[in-house]
């Protein structure tokens, strides 16, 4: 297809560089400098998509980020596919592959277009009203079908093959927008000696100057002034220019999020990131974000070929494209006359300029009249014709009292509209700056800022070029000064400017038809109409926030950039209250849709999250261990031999530990060194236990509560000397325990002389457990007697193990004779391997966390977070023996004395469960009831906290929290499960060696 609608001259496109691309599989060509939208228009293509709800054919409405219709999927393969891109912002490149969305089977023939025929039955609030009954029908029936019919593009079918970068930046002044206001602001800020970042979402700096063909600035044509100014800014070393960079979010304390598009427009560039996220902290911000033209709301205002007037002028002036042959212009604003003239000069026939104002006046109106363009004052539009392209406009006289006369059909293939301009206050609003309604302008403009920011040019309602430039310069100078820069004197810009413009309209145009029979679209992307908004109000919704949600107006991916003011205009008419009283909705980030990839950045695959590995990790890996994630750690879960499944491996490991010995990597345990003259007193106040009388060389099980009396953490604590304790915590609780200790140390007990140091990663911890543990270990130990007499259960000694300095604990989490050997982490693997090799003749096996869990459960030892859930007291867990009752205070002590925490209350207590059928292993989390025949809701007495197959007992066993459980030992309870009820007997929580004889080997 050739570019039949390309003008012979003009525009900023490179006529020497033809670019070929495909749209829905059709090969077309454009020019370097085109967007996908301008290239499609150059090929005469307006039809670009189907609408969200009614599947109506839609064309290209705008030339910028506000585009609601022309959303396309771009990408030659699934790894490079992005849905929902605005064709108006997609830079054309050689080989670009684009497809339209939300149509089946094709854009021209779409079966779901049937929605367009049944539209009367799917009004606003339709989903709320229709699909809530019968229960279950929503998720099973309606939702999947609606999802298939409505919606935007599809997700890519392959992982993103591109990469994304992220960086932080600091500057004195960040200027958002490089149109005339932003450029002038940057000039001033640089002159003030400041470090400046200037960003703009387009591929070229210049904003409105890129389509400025009439004005001169300081004697030069606008295009020349632009290139000279950019050169001047580039020459200043203190300014960084970021083109193709959207400021999408304004975060607190002057941090802005920018996305820089790096390589999408450069096909064939490999190995470089696709986009870069900039997090910029600026001392001062200048917002020069420009303005967005409003459509007019009239019946069937959404056919392909209907465009914003300013957009048509941009296509002609900047891209050298003729958007049609014969245009009708409908307007409430002078700027549309300028567009009409530009198109007229480009060879487009102007069939009519219908102005809804009774008596339009001004420079542009005069120029249009002088050129002989057919101006119809006091004229409205009551409808359009055409299916895949507009073919006619119904124009009718509009009397001062709003009466609409008989309409006349005027044929056209292009219908331009302008309701005036809405300042782009999105970022200002995001920053929590207050918006105020400007009556003269008919728009919300920035009021008092909440951040250190300045607003310049069109985004605060300034429109005349000379004023925009002067305003930008003044704001740039103010920002520079406020950031600590030099005083910059005010500067004027001499422009031979185009005439001033004025006018504007917000709301729905009168059309004189039965309102129930027409659709005048307000929000094109969400297919909401003037009628929908009126319906919402008639159904009692008054707040604009409620109207927005009920009709979904402004809730599409364009966030109401073009619909917001018209929706307000309709509401203000119906409610007969001024817009200023109705207020506006809040703008949220991102300003335009932003890729997930750029937020994920480097955090993908191996870099998704931190992985912590123990010193023994790679040995375990080589042994074929299966790992599990425990907080950020990788822990060996079991060590299967050839042909073993988990069940078999764990059973073998369990039997080996009970019969001979097992070796277990406990390095992930949290470790905190508590040192200082008041170390014991500090622990007295933190843990429930008494520490003063614990002798150096002894260990004690420590239990830590929160201030509300519930168990937070536990671990074995060793007293290394009078002033030094080796504290261990759970694997997942290490950071939280240290934070809590630091909190009390710094803020509650600052008088105590004590220091806390995390030593988790300093020590490798090798647990050696089983009746043969001592005989395996003994040959490695120097400098300590580890006989039972010299080193009983719960003692600690400093010695050398395998030649390495060690803190050797005699401790057991299995119920067997056990040691935990702490050696400096770098020696961990060597010591482990030496012991493992030496233990082989004795039957030593490596075991993982699964076996550890089973063995400890056989002994009734709790795991914090499994037997506890933040509502379990020491007594509930059967641990009140640990409490130092004579102590005046410890964290949680006062709370334990509150009503409901102890005596006289039937709290859930830790018990054991044995199923009647020993082969049945209960599910953890299963609920326990007394009467399985009780109709729901049943009285639930508790739940299973841990449940395993015990190779030791040759049957299943479980731990549970059961209401008044200790008094129920011997009772039968029931576990209702899908399809069956399991009978269990309550027992004590210790299933193995209740006397503790095995602890001594």
């Amino acid at each position: 297809m050739s570019q039949n609608f390309r003008l012979p001259t003009g525009g900023r496109v490179n006529r020497g560089k033809k670019i070929s691309f495909t749209f829905d599989g059709r090969r077309m060509s454009g020019l370097e400098g085109d967007t996908l939208a301008s290239a499609l228009l150059a090929n005469g293509e307006h039809l670009a998509g189907r609408s969200f709800k009614y599947h109506r054919p839609r064309g290209i409405l705008s030339a910028g980020p506000e585009e609601p219709n022309a959303l396309v999927g771009v990408g030659a393969d699934e790894g490079h596919y992005s849905p929902n891109l605005r064709a108006t912002q997609v830079e054309l490149f050689e080989g670009l592959v684009a497809e339209s969305q939300n149509r089946s089977p094709s854009l021209r023939y779409d079966w779901a277009g049937v929605n367009n025929l049944i539209w009367r039955f799917i009004p606003a609030g339709f989903y709320y009203k229709t699909f809530m009954w019968p229960r279950g029908a929503w998720t099973k029936f309606f939702e999947p079908r609606i999802r298939a019919m409505a919606g935007l593009g599809r997700a890519p079918r392959a992982p993103d093959a591109t990469t994304y970068a992220q960086r932080y930046a600091h500057c004195d002044v960040l200027v958002v927008g490089a149109g005339p206001a932003g450029l002038a602001a940057a000039l001033a800020a640089v002159q003030g000696g400041q470090r400046v970042i200037l960003c703009d979402e387009q591929n070229e700096l210049g904003g409105s100057l890129l389509s400025e063909t009439d004005a001169t600035i300081d004697g030069a044509p606008a295009a020349r002034w632009l290139s000279e100014t950019i050169a001047q800014l580039r020459a200043a070393g203190s300014l960084q220019i970021l083109a193709r960079t959207t400021a999408f979010g304004y975060f607190p304390h002057n941090m802005l999020g920018l996305v820089e598009r790096l390589t999408d427009h450069l096909p064939g560039v490999a190995g470089q990131p696709r986009e870069r996220l900039w997090q910029v902290r600026a001392k001062q911000v200048v917002l020069a974000a420009g303005e967005i033209e409003r459509p007019l709301v009239f019946p069937d205002n959404d056919r392909p070929g209907i465009m914003l007037a300013g957009a048509a002028r941009i296509y002609a002036s900047r891209y050298g494209v003729k958007p049609g042959q014969r245009a009708v212009i409908v307007t409430a604003h002078d700027s549309a006359y300028r567009a009409a003239l530009a198109l007229y000069q480009a060879g487009v026939g102007i069939a009519a300029i219908a102005d809804v104002r009774a008596n339009p006046q001004g420079g542009w109106v005069d120029l249009a009249r002088k050129a002989g363009l057919p101006v119809r004052a006091g004229c409205t539009i009551t409808g359009t014709s055409g299916r895949l392209r507009v073919s006619g406009a119904d124009l009718a006289p509009l009397a001062a009292d709003g009466t609409v006369g008989a309409s006349e059909r005027v044929s056209c293939d292009l219908l331009l509209m302008s309701g005036g301009f809405t300042p782009s206050v999105h970022l200002f609003s995001q920053s929590r700056g207050k918006l105020v309604y400007d009556d003269a302008l008919g728009a919300f403009v920035p009021g008092t800022p909440a951040e250190d920011c300045w607003v310049a040019g069109a985004c605060r309602g300034v429109s005349l070029l000379s004023e925009v430039l002067a305003d930008g310069f003044a704001k740039g100078a103010s920002a520079a000064r406020a950031a600590g820069g030099a005083l910059v004197p005010a500067r004027g810009f001499a422009t031979t400017h185009a005439p001033a413009t004025g006018g504007g309209f917000a709301g729905a145009l009168p059309h004189g038809k039965n309102p129930a029979s027409v659709r005048a679209f307000v929000d094109f992307q969400n297919d909401s109409t003037a009628k929908d908004i009126k319906l919402a109000i008639s159904e009692g919704l008054r707040s604009i926030e409620h109207i927005k949600r009920y009709t979904t107006t402004g809730m599409a991916t364009d966030q109401g950039k073009i619909s917001n003011m018209n929706a307000l205009g309709i509401a203000t008419d119906v409610l007969a209250r001024p817009i200023a009283q109705i207020g506006t909705t809040t703008f949220r980030m991102p300003y335009t849709p932003t890729t997930f990839g750029v937020f994920a950045g480097y955090a993908r695959g191996d870099l998704f999250d931190t992985v912590r590995r123990t010193p023994v990790h790679h040995w375990a890996e080589a042994q074929g261990a299966v790992f599990e994630d425990v907080s950020l750690w990788k822990r060996a879960r079991y060590f299967p031999l050839a042909g073993e499944d988990m069940h078999q491996a764990v059973a073998r490991e369990c039997r080996a530990v009970r019969a001979a010995a097992g070796i277990f990597d406990a390095s992930t345990l949290g470790k905190i060194e508590v040192a200082g003259p008041d170390a014991a007193e500090f622990l007295n106040r933190m843990y429930v236990n008494a520490w003063s009388k614990l002798k150096p060389g002894r260990l004690r099980y420590g239990l830590l509560l929160r201030e509300d009396g519930f168990i937070l953490d536990d671990g074995v604590i060793g007293r290394m000397s009078d002033e030094c304790f080796h504290v261990t915590t759970t694997t997942g609780g290490a950071a939280r325990v240290l934070t809590m200790m630091e909190d009390y140390r710094q803020t509650e007990f600052p008088e105590l002389k004590v220091w806390l140091t995390s030593t988790t990663e300093q020590w490798a911890v090798i647990a050696l457990q089983g009746p043969k543990a001592r005989e395996i270990l003994a040959p490695f130990v120097e400098g300590a007697d580890i006989s039972h007499a010299a080193m009983p259960h719960m003692s600690v000694v400093e010695c050398r193990v395998a030649g390495v300095p060690a803190r050797l604990f005699r401790v057991s989490f299995t119920g067997e004779l056990g040691f935990e050997i702490n050696v400096p982490a770098d020696y961990g693997r060597a010591v482990w391997e030496a012991i493992f090799a030496a233990g082989q003749p004795a039957g030593l096996v490596a075991y993982g966390t699964e076996t550890m869990h089973v063995l400890r459960a056989e002994k009734g030892y709790i795991i914090v977070g499994q037997e506890t859930d933040g509502t379990v007291t020491p007594d509930d867990a059967g641990l009140s023996w640990a409490i130092g009752k004579a102590k005046p205070d410890f964290v949680g002590k006062r709370a334990l004395a509150r009503a409901g925490m102890g005596e006289g209350v039937q709290r859930k207590q830790l018990v054991g469960l044995l199923t009647d059928d020993p082969q049945v292993v209960l599910e953890e989390g299963a609920q326990l009831v007394a009467d399985p025949a009780q109709p729901p809701p049943m009285t639930m007495l508790g739940h299973v906290t841990s449940s395993y197959w015990s190779a030791t007992l040759n049957r299943s066993m479980a731990l549970a929290l059961v209401k008044n459980g200790r008094a129920r030992i011997g009772e039968t309870l029931h576990v209702p499960m899908p399809g069956r009820v399991i009978r269990v007997t309550i027992t004590g929580p210790v299933f193995y060696d209740a006397e503790g004889i095995k602890l001594d080997g």
Binding site: Q279, E742, Q746, R894
Partner: protein, 97 residues
């Protein structure tokens, strides 16, 4: 992302800090002296201020110190940050008005 001025290290990005709840919630010198309801209030009742709120932060990935801050919950602007043990600098609040 907030910019928070640690009283020990100066302005640092929020990433380096952990939030630690309301400030000046006094733990009784001897908790045995207080009633159940007073203790319940200490445990659970917080002021949930709209406006200037005294709160605790910890410069976890920095000097590791806890400190207090006055932050306007409607704007996220910090009026002041100050060390544990120092009294609430309400003069700064007034000056900021």
């Amino acid at each position: 992302m907030l910019l928070i001025t640690c009283p020990f290290c100066g302005p640092r990005p929020e990433l380096e800090f952990g939030y630690a709840g309301e400030a000046h919630v006094v733990r009784a010198q001897d908790p045995r002296d207080v009633s159940d309801s007073q203790w319940t209030e200490y445990l659970y009742q917080r002021s949930n201020v709209r406006g200037v709120h005294a709160e605790r932060w910890r410069h976890a990935h920095g000097c590791a110190q806890f400190f207090n801050a006055l932050r306007d919950t409607t704007t996220d602007h910090f009026v002041a940050t100050y060390r544990i043990g120092e009294s609430r600098p309400d003069a700064a609040v007034e000056a900021g008005r």
